[in-house]
Subunit: 253 residues, 2 copies
């Protein structure tokens, strides 16, 4: 195990830079914190580049010998972490995400709130969705807040980041026979739909503006959730959760 | 319309104190911000005590003549508000909440996160639930973060704050014939349940620890949502949303 003691060490500075999008883009890597997230990263298809430990920390699982491990004094370890009271372990993970696959996919059209983004990915994992397609104007998937809100689910998902989001959805539709389901306030009643037999992509829209017009136009289905009382809308993560669970309901064991 | 110009005015100081629980308890009031929240407060059963305007602000609706209205210079108005870029209107509302009623109720057992609490209330409103029962260890319903996350739904709900939470649920069960539905990770499969014909209370548990043992023991139904992938749990607001919408599904028009 290597040891670094200086706050000014260039590797330490590079890890610290992973808190910001610019640093992550430069390094093509992100940082996850805590034993649970690190263990899930190690078990995933994501490449774990470095394990970072606080001096004296005993991880609750065996560290792989194949991954470089570095220990840091308390104050240096803390400087690298984003959480206020970091646990004793973190990992630098490459952003080479597993390539999109599956017959139940989610597409995020401009999700801006990191907590929403992470919660949606956590729910997608629980509901058995296999992959996430992100539009270019989504909040950065690898920001510390998103990562925390996924509770590790990011490591069980496959991803695609198409430069041309709505064109990508059309290709799935026309070339691969996917249904493209748009959730929108002026859609048809969701609970009255006919069964969807094909593979499908559920599109979730921006918190304020919903789904973009281009995506709506290319959808094969447009649905709204019923809304009673005087409520105007649902939280994006809640609406996505209700739709995801209802779409997989018929397939439940 | 009255005008107050000093930051040190005792009424201004009292309004500022409403940001903290202690101030709200002392005044038996809370503050809502922005034209939408204020309009919903005025249309509700909650008592609006005072309207507070920034000098020169033109509200998008007519102000009622029966409610005292005070205008403040920009910097004084800003000191009263919790949001960073406040809109020009706020209202002081008494915490005399409408008394609990309805046949579809939600009970919150130790919800701690203000965003979750507000989102759950917003979803309950949209799903047509009529009232919320809060355990004493829930986060304060009237904190600015909870209020914002409800998006105004708080004003369309009835409430109960029993000192003895699980006893209160048992009274609903034994005296009024309500089903008490506990959502817990070791419950029966939610989507395989038989229809619930009686009025019911859906109980949502604490984010980390779930529902307390006493409440579980007194429940008439115990359900879990299916979880695939390696996910261990769902966000409390998402799980509550999935269950609420599925429970009212059969009643949808």
């Amino acid at each position: 195990m290597d040891h670094i003691s200086s706050l000014k060490n260039p590797r330490v500075a590079a890890w610290r830079s992973l808190k910001e999008k610019k640093g992550r883009d430069t390094a093509q890597a992100f940082l996850v914190e805590g034993p649970r997230m690190v263990e899930e990263a190690l078990a995933s298809l994501f490449p774990v580049r470095t394990l970072i430990l606080r001096d004296g920390y005993l991880p609750p699982f065996e560290l792989p010998e194949t991954v470089q491990t570095v220990s840091l004094p308390e104050h240096v370890f803390r400087s690298v972490c984003d959480t206020k009271t970091p646990q004793g372990i973190a990992a630098v993970v490459g952003i080479q995400t597993p390539q999109l696959k599956g017959t139940r996919l989610l597409a995020l059209d401009g999700i801006q709130d990191p907590g929403n983004m992470g919660t949606i990915i956590r729910t997608a994992d629980a509901a058995g969705f296999e992959g996430i397609i992100l539009s270019p104007d989504c909040v950065d998937l690898f920001s510390p807040k998103v990562l925390r809100a996924t509770m590790g689910s990011i490591f069980r998902m496959s991803f695609s980041f198409p430069a041309f989001f709505s064109d990508s959805l059309k290709t799935f539709r026309d070339t691969h026979g996917y249904a493209v389901i748009s959730s929108q306030l002026d859609g048809d009643p969701f609970f009255e739909r006919k069964p969807i037999a094909s593979p499908f992509i559920l599109v979730v829209g921006n918190e304020g503006n919903g789904i973009s017009d281009e995506v709506k136009a290319g959808a094969t289905h447009r649905f709204r959730l019923p809304m009673r009382g005087g409520a105007e809308s649902l939280n994006a993560a809640v609406a996505a959760g209700i739709m995801m669970y209802d779409l997989i309901r018929s397939e439940l064991p």
